[in-house]
């Protein structure tokens, strides 16, 4: 199986050194899964990204603009794209619709309509044309209205969508209803849920020291904006402060550092009790977990991500506190402390922290780890992904969708050449004998 893996990458392509910490989920997932995939003898992978050619994870890397050319030379069985709502991933939103394949969505809703070339995308007209060969192409230079910044365009122009958030898969079925491949599928709108992987080393880390009464080391993963609920956690810390001895490592993204500092000032928690880690990445979170007794993930999104961070905390075996909202609602209630958002939030968090510190809180690290192993372990996710890719390639439905897309591209090419030919005819100075010369050149280059 020959795979084109189109994604942000975890390493510098030229020097093979680790990149500056990134919170790109696609880069993280690539770094975790590729070494597993390479263990399969019948799999070969080429990586594509926005950047220069070279190597990464011992595999060849090419700029994504060369995907089509490399596919023409030596076809891939499958193109796998990763798309997320991240500034580093804007290019992938363009790339994934040009040669549709399997797209693994880490987000379904986006902060914007995308980079400039797709702001005025005629994708809905193109879709009509794909489904009905007699429909017209989009008007050249026309203006096209976009729907809300949901990945409707990206999820429509893929042959099979995967989602790393279960809710996104459901939302996709509700809001988008299917991809271009729908007419070729027996199932109405096939979509798969495949969670983000968690590295094995987190499961094998030394068990937490459960000594009661010592200083409670808290890992906090959240931003400073109101929906991230950090203010509720800080309020809770103020409540418990005189009685409970604690230290907090608060992991925030660099662009939120100043707002986080302002919040600490506001809650008067600056003096040594809270340390800001202003680099948000799974690597940083793993390091913070190493020195923590409890993990708090208060941020809530309706359709966004709490992974791989919550999975990492469960794998580490520490008590996990989440806000009961969105994706966190899907977590088993017996494995995590779910806090109801609202006026009681700080009080509930304070109670849980106090109970954990005194040893009164029920916590079964082993069950949490077992759950995480089953759901998120890197080996398990890699196996599921390979199985999915192989079954997809082997399915007649997928092959039929690919054939239909290839035919569609051929018609686009023919219609482009018709447009060019009409231009030629519209310019008297360029008509015969140049027309025959033009044809010669087209033949030479296969245009």
């Amino acid at each position: 199986m020959r795979i084109a893996w189109i994604s942000n990458l975890p390493e510098n392509v030229r020097s093979a050194s680790r990149r500056k910490a990134t919170d790109s989920l696609a880069a993280y997932t690539t770094g975790v899964l590729i070494p597993h995939l390479m263990k399969w003898d019948d799999i070969s992978i080429e990586l594509f990204h926005r950047g220069e050619a070279g190597t990464c994870l011992d595999l060849p890397v090419f700029p994504y603009q060369r995907l089509r050319e490399r596919h023409a030379q030596h076809p891939y069985d499958i193109c796998l794209y990763q798309v997320e709502d991240h500034p580093e991933s804007q290019w992938a939103r363009i790339a994934c619709t040009l040669m549709p394949g399997i797209t693994w969505f880490h987000d379904l809703y986006f902060a914007s309509h995308g980079p400039e070339p797709i702001l005025n995308s005629a994708w809905q007209v193109t879709k009509e044309r794909f489904l009905n060969g007699s429909a017209s192409w989009a008007e050249r230079g026309g203006e096209f209205e976009q729907v809300a910044p949901i990945a409707a365009r990206e999820a429509t122009f893929c042959l099979l969508p995967l989602f790393s958030v279960e809710r996104d898969a459901l939302e996709y079925r509700r809001a988008i209803g299917g991809s271009l491949a729908a007419p070729f599928c027996s199932e109405k709108s096939p979509a798969y849920f495949l969670p983000l992987p968690v590295r094995d080393e987190l499961f094998s880390a030394a068990p937490r020291d459960d000594e009661v009464g010592k200083r409670l080391r808290i890992a906090l993963h959240s931003g400073a904006r109101i929906e991230q609920r950090s203010h509720q956690v800080l309020q809770a810390l103020r409540v418990v402060q005189p009685a409970l001895d604690f230290e907090v490592h608060w992991v925030v993204s660099p662009d939120e550092k100043s707002r986080a500092e302002a919040l600490l000032e506001e809650f008067d928690l600056r003096e040594g009790a809270v340390t800001l880690e202003s680099e948000l990445s799974p690597t940083v979170w793993a390091a913070v977990l190493e020195k923590s007794d409890v993990a708090i993930h208060p941020r809530f999104y309706v359709f966004g991500h709490v992974q791989p961070y919550v999975g990492m905390s469960l794998a580490r075996g520490v008590p996990v506190i989440v806000t009961r909202f969105g994706a966190s609602e899907e977590l088993p209630a017996e494995l995590v402390y779910q806090i109801e958002p609202g006026v009681e939030e700080p009080k509930q968090i304070a109670q849980v922290l106090t109970a954990i510190s005194s040893g009164d809180a029920p916590h079964n690290a082993v069950r949490g780890q077992e759950y995480a192993r089953e759901m998120y372990h890197e080996g398990a996710i890699a196996t599921q992904l390979v199985s999915l890719l192989k079954s997809t390639i082997g399915s007649g439905e997928y092959q039929n969708a690919c054939s239909a897309w290839n035919a569609f591209e051929k018609s686009a090419s023919e219609d482009l050449m018709k447009e060019v030919s009409e231009m030629l005819h519209a310019e008297p100075t360029l008509q015969a004998p140049f027309e025959s010369e033009f044809q010669k050149v087209c033949n030479e280059f296969g245009w």
Partner: protein, 369 residues
């Protein structure tokens, strides 16, 4: 001595680095006794589907002989001139059609996600690969250009930095409180960043802009920004100027702003250095960064107006900084060999297909004797 045709592309009513390069190369080859002429065809950038016609026009030209004079070598420079077919072809690449390569997927590309655009892109990429691979010698005007060529087309080439056309005539004079911006005025050159930096800069510092707008709406946009920030007295559009005026503007400037997005090469950088003036550029300015080193001969900052403004203020506030950076730039220029003496290696490279020819003729002669 050889008969050589230089192949250029002309967007009517605009002037840029390619025109300077062609004129300089013409002069240098002629001065070495070659018979040289230039063939230029107009390039229409809209509608983009026309690129196929324009590439085909170059391809269909018969450039082997004119009026009984055999053409020994053609030297192509820019998309689509390198589509020309000739038994001896050198390419001194100014740039490819960047909208289908490095600019693709960004604000500076007009290729959409319409499958017809994607097919057009695929055809041009495939065509580029064929016609560039058939050249006997390929070089680029900067490392940046050659990196792109290798990354996107798998074609390798040498780097031949074009020497300054006015080499030997640049000078430095007492600085006056203005920043100089030189070049075509279009969005990718990002003159707007400098203009919008003025509110962050000491109010006695002005901006002089040399060059002509070659993109619809860009001047309106700049004038709107001037109105919005009340900069009427601080910005001067100088337009196109004579060589003497340009040398004088460089010589008297406080520093030179040149921060295009991923520039191919940028004569402006080297002209500033030749005039012993510091260059303010951006971290994503491409070829400019092959010459400018932060805090050594210029200031490299994030491409935001605020950062650019702060950099200009440093030139004003830090005693001797502008002079120190400017002098270091002058020294760097000498090391680079992009002054007049640099032409010998360029001519050697571009004419190497002819030397192969004469070498094989000598070989044949030797083997037959």
């Amino acid at each position: 001595m050889a008969n050589i045709l230089l192949l250029g592309v002309k967007v009517p009513f605009t002037t840029g680095g390619q025109e300077v390069l062609l004129a300089s190369l013409h002069r240098e080859l002629s001065s070495r006794g070659h018979l040289v002429d230039t063939v230029e065809l107009p390039l229409t950038v809209q509608p983009k589907e026309r690129y196929l016609i324009e590439a085909a026009q170059w391809r269909s030209l018969d450039l082997t002989e004119f009026g009984g004079e055999k053409v020994d070598l053609v030297i192509a420079t820019k998309f689509p001139s390198y589509y020309a077919k000739h038994p001896k072809k050198s390419v001194w690449l100014v740039h490819q059609h960047r909208a289908i390569y490095d600019l693709y997927g960004g604000r500076y590309s007009d290729f959409s996600d319409d499958p017809r655009d994607e097919q057009l892109r695929a055809k041009l990429v495939e065509g580029d690969k064929v016609v560039l691979s058939e050249a006997q010698y390929v070089a680029g005007i900067s490392r940046n250009v050659i990196h792109r060529l290798e990354a996107f087309n798998g074609v390798k080439g040498d780097v031949l930095y074009p020497p300054l056309s006015l080499a030997g005539r640049y000078y430095s004079d007492t600085s006056e409180p203005y920043i100089l911006s030189v070049g075509r005025i279009c969005s990718i050159k990002r003159v707007d960043l400098m203009l919008k930096a003025l509110p962050f800069i000491h109010s006695f510092v002005k901006l002089k802009i040399v060059g002509k707008a070659d993109e619809p709406g860009v001047l309106d946009y700049l004038h709107n920004e001037i109105d919005k920030h009340h900069l009427w007295d601080r910005v001067e559009f100088v337009g196109r100027v004579s060589d003497e005026e340009l040398l004088s503007l460089y010589a008297r400037s406080l520093g030179v702003y040149y921060a295009p997005h991923d520039e191919d090469y940028g004569y402006v950088t080297l002209e500033a250095m030749a005039s012993s003036k510091p260059v303010i550029t951006a971290t994503d300015s491409g070829g400019v960064l092959e010459f400018v080193a932060h805090e050594e001969n210029g200031l490299i900052v994030e491409p935001t107006s605020e950062k650019i403004g702060l950099a200009v203020n440093r030139l004003v506030e830090e005693d001797g900084l502008a002079d120190r950076l400017g002098m270091a730039g002058r020294e760097r220029l000498t090391e680079l060999g992009v002054e007049q003496s640099g032409w010998d290696s360029i001519v050697d490279g571009l004419l190497s297909p002819l030397q192969e020819d004469s070498a094989s003729t000598s070989k044949k002669a030797a083997s037959s004797s």
